[in-house]
């Protein structure tokens, strides 16, 4: 069919622009610090392991996930709080984070990232000498 020809470059650009404009969901997070490091928890309901992407580029941490749910054929929306299917959020890491040893665990839609501090930034006890 005539209509099924390749996209023109202009159309490709339009498609790309359309993807970039995509509405995203901002996942709520808890962040807390302990002596060994920082923990970040994010709610990403509907995201399975294989639809989750965690990226570290320099000092920027990016969390991205895509929702997948089972939907029957011919469904009509009656009500919707959630009106997008992509989660996205960025964080800036500080220098003391050991980016080579970041741990990630996904359980029931909750992502837990453990961001350890470099050994030299972990607290160590200073002995007070007594004479």
């Amino acid at each position: 069919m005539e209509e099924r020809k390749e996209m023109k470059p202009q159309e490709k650009r339009e498609m790309q622009a359309r993807t970039e404009r995509e509405v995203t969901l901002r996942p709520p997070v808890d962040i807390y610090e302990e002596p060994q490091g920082i923990t970040l928890k994010a709610d990403l309901p509907g995201v399975s392991h294989d639809r989750l992407e965690i990226q570290i580029d320099g000092d920027t941490l990016t969390i991205e996930g895509r929702v997948s749910v089972d939907m029957p054929e011919g469904m009509e929306a009656l009500y919707a709080d959630v009106r997008a299917t992509r989660y996205h959020r960025n964080f800036t890491l500080s220098r003391e984070i050991d980016t080579d040893n970041i741990g990630a665990e996904m359980k029931e839609g909750v992502l837990t990232l453990t961001l350890p501090k470099r050994p030299e930034h972990q607290p160590h006890r200073i002995e007070v000498r007594t004479s």
């Binding site: 709610d43 929306a77 919707a80």
Partner: protein, 146 residues
């Protein structure tokens, strides 16, 4: 425009198509507000969809123990309640605390023709998916003209 649309569609894999279908279904669609609707940002967020033979409710509730959930359906009123416990260690220094903790309850008004005897609930990846079958009589029937 037709060229653009088919090209766009071809470039997507099956998952993307499904996701797009969901975006079209729920995205930007201004549903009428029910009397029991919550203010935006409440926990958990809910999407409800209907097809010919069933109604599907999706609750976006990550990190719950499914055993702690109370789900009941009285006629067409679906109520879900539960609790999400605080999980920040006491001695830690908190910087952000945006995730919901505490008890929650949501009541949804489903279409009148749902069958309260035929309910199924599953919890996966933090989404509680409740399926309720509709009474058969409502399925569209072809009427013969004699």
């Amino acid at each position: 425009m037709a060229v653009y649309l088919t090209g766009f569609d071809d470039a997507y894999d099956q998952f993307e198509r499904m996701r797009q279908q969901m975006d079209e279904l729920f995205g930007g669609w201004s549903a009428p507000m029910g009397i029991r609707n919550m203010t935006p940002g409440g926990f958990p967020a809910v999407n409800v969809g209907a097809s010919a033979d069933r109604v599907d409710a999706y609750m976006f509730a990550a990190g719950l123990d499914p055993k702690s959930l109370e789900i009941s359906l009285q006629q067409n009123l679906l109520s879900i309640s539960g609790e999400r416990k605080e999980d920040i260690p006491e001695q830690a220094e908190p910087y952000r605390n945006e995730r919901f903790t505490g008890t929650f309850r949501r009541v949804l008004t489903l279409p009148d023709d749902v069958d309260p005897e035929k309910v199924d609930a599953t919890y996966r990846d933090g989404i509680l998916h409740i399926t309720v079958q509709r009474h058969e009589a409502v399925e569209p029937r072809k009427i013969q003209v004699h």
